[in-house]
């Protein structure tokens, strides 16, 4: 995905409204209409189930967030070598990294998730060595497969972003580092990686927002995230719209918080004004 597409598909800091922008006459009217709509929804739809499910919803949101952050961090740690291998590696690193990115980016995440969960999950029990290993209690659960699939997917998309970011660091800066007598590792640690991350940061943040939008998929393999809790509500109360509307609201709030957090984070990094 190019940076431009990530930008178009993910909600980014530039899309946040400013406080002043709310006080235009037509917006005040629109907000009143919207408030009327919200009140209508609150009064005329059924929300009596909400208190019963609140604790579970809280847990679900927590699981979703844990999924998001663990897979984003793990995925990013994988993405750095993948991106680096494609830029600077010899062909026997470059080729697998390229194939990995192409294959993962070319197939739906849901399919990868099900491949891991149903495919590997049905394969593992056939090996006594795995059944007896200390990993088995975890491998019987669903969440490791969810984490693995989300991590792999994030690593592939980020690997591509990092490839561009590594390649985009001006050669002069690297030459300057070399001229200072830095070793290759020092150069990578001090100049290349920080500069690449700096360049990729807006795209990385966009991809993290997209990753949040991918987390509900793990509910299809019985991980109890907020989506799964809402599905449970729908099954037990036979309501269609109310739980889904609440779910959409929850995700919008999560996205909003994430984007605001990223904006504060990005603003703290000094950039040359352009």
């Amino acid at each position: 995905m190019t940076d431009q597409t990530t930008h178009a598909v993910a909600f980014t800091p530039e899309d946040l409204p400013t406080a002043r922008s709310f006080f235009q006459p037509h917006r005040i009217v629109m907000m009143l209409v919207f408030a009327g709509f919200v009140i209508g929804v609150a009064v005329f739809m059924r929300w009596d189930w909400l208190p019963r499910y609140l604790p579970r919803l809280g847990w679900g949101i927590l699981i979703s967030l844990v999924m998001l952050f663990s897979t984003s961090i793990l995925g990013f740690l994988l993405a750095v070598p993948i991106g680096l291998a494609q830029v600077a590696g010899p062909w026997f690193f470059k080729l697998p990294a390229k194939v990995f990115c192409t294959v993962i980016r070319g197939t739906p995440l849901l399919l990868q998730l099900w491949l891991l969960y149903y495919g590997l999950g049905s394969l593992f029990p056939q090996f006594p060595a795995i059944r007896q290993s200390f990993l088995w209690p975890y491998l019987r659960e669903a969440w490791p497969y969810g984490v693995a699939a989300l991590t792999i997917s994030f690593a592939a998309y980020e690997g591509e972003v990092m490839r561009g970011a590594f390649a985009g660091v001006p050669a002069g800066e690297l030459e300057a580092a070399k001229a200072y007598g830095m070793s290759r590792w020092t150069m990578f640690r001090r100049i290349w990686l920080p500069r690449a991350i700096h360049r990729a940061l807006p795209t990385l943040n966009g991809e993290t927002v997209l990753q949040l939008k991918s987390t509900p998929l793990v509910a299809t393999i019985t991980v109890v995230d907020v989506y799964a809790v809402i599905s449970k509500v729908r099954q037990e109360t036979f309501l269609t719209y109310e739980p889904l509307l609440l779910l959409a609201l929850i995700y919008m709030c999560l996205t909003g918080i994430l984007v605001v957090a990223f904006r504060t984070f990005e603003n703290r990094i000094p950039t040359r004004g352009a």
Binding site: T5, H7, R105, P108, S122, L123, T240, A248
Partner: protein
């Protein structure tokens, strides 16, 4: 080693005992939805982009709400909401005109759902592309006395295309992959069909890998066409890099 260490390829046979035919039918369904949804999304996107750039304040804000909601809520949730809300609304609308409820085909519902999601994305891509067209070109067209529609057809659309194609081609790839999400609402596209086949035969790895190969083929073939299209659209541009 496992009992199925030798791959039972006959499971992928096209005729009845094998599941190859079923898989291919699902693949065709997926492609149909992707094409339909993409086309609908593009139409919505063109309208949305022009509305956002040249529309009145209220239209602009409404479009902003549309793109914000779609970009902030997971596709899976949107698909469920649109799927139920869309069919419900249509049936209630038909009831108003005292026409009995219709059974909406999964294909139409899928195209609608994917189209609405894609519409928001392409609105943003196209808006960016239109803004990249030098304002002087559009002003010149206006100065020649072209009607707005003619400006659109002769200048804005062709001039923005090179800027839009990378984003739009990514959206096409996203559309093909988003069709997999329709498995969750029970539409028999490739991913759901694959899971059914795998569940019946217990050959999970074989079928999921086969489906993955189909999706990957679609992506790679698309990439070839995208490359050709991009070269065509960028002809006359100064070579970059």
């Amino acid at each position: 080693m496992a009992s199925d260490s030798i791959v039972n390829w006959s499971l992928l046979a096209l005729s009845s005992p094998g599941w190859g035919g079923v898989l291919l039918q699902g693949f065709v369904n997926s492609i149909q939805i992707a094409i339909g949804g993409y086309a609908l999304g593009l139409t919505l996107g063109v309208g949305g982009a022009f509305g956002k750039l040249y529309g009145g304040p209220i239209l602009r804000d409404l479009l902003e709400c549309y793109t914000t909601v779609v970009r902030a809520v997971p596709e899976l949730v949107l698909i469920l909401l649109l799927y139920y809300a869309g069919t419900d609304l249509l049936n209630q609308l038909l009831a108003l005109f005292s026409i009995g409820p219709v059974d909406i085909s999964g294909l139409m519902a899928g195209i609608f759902v994917i189209g609405v999601v894609q519409g928001a994305y392409s609105t943003e891509v196209l808006r960016g592309a239109i803004k990249a067209v030098p304002a002087g070109q559009i002003e010149a067209a206006r100065a020649y006395g072209m009607s707005p529609l003619k400006v659109l057809r002769r200048v804005t659309l062709p001039a923005m295309l090179p800027y839009a194609i990378p984003g739009l081609s990514n959206l096409w790839l996203i559309a093909t992959k988003d069709t997999a999400l329709l498995a969750v609402v029970g539409f028999s596209e490739l991913t759901l069909v694959t899971r059914q086949a795998a569940g019946t035969t217990k050959a999970y790895l074989l079928f999921f890998l086969a489906a993955g190969a189909l999706y990957l083929t679609l992506t790679l073939v698309s990439n070839i066409f995208i490359g050709m299209l991009e070269r065509h659209a960028r002809r006359g541009f100064a070579e970059q890099r």
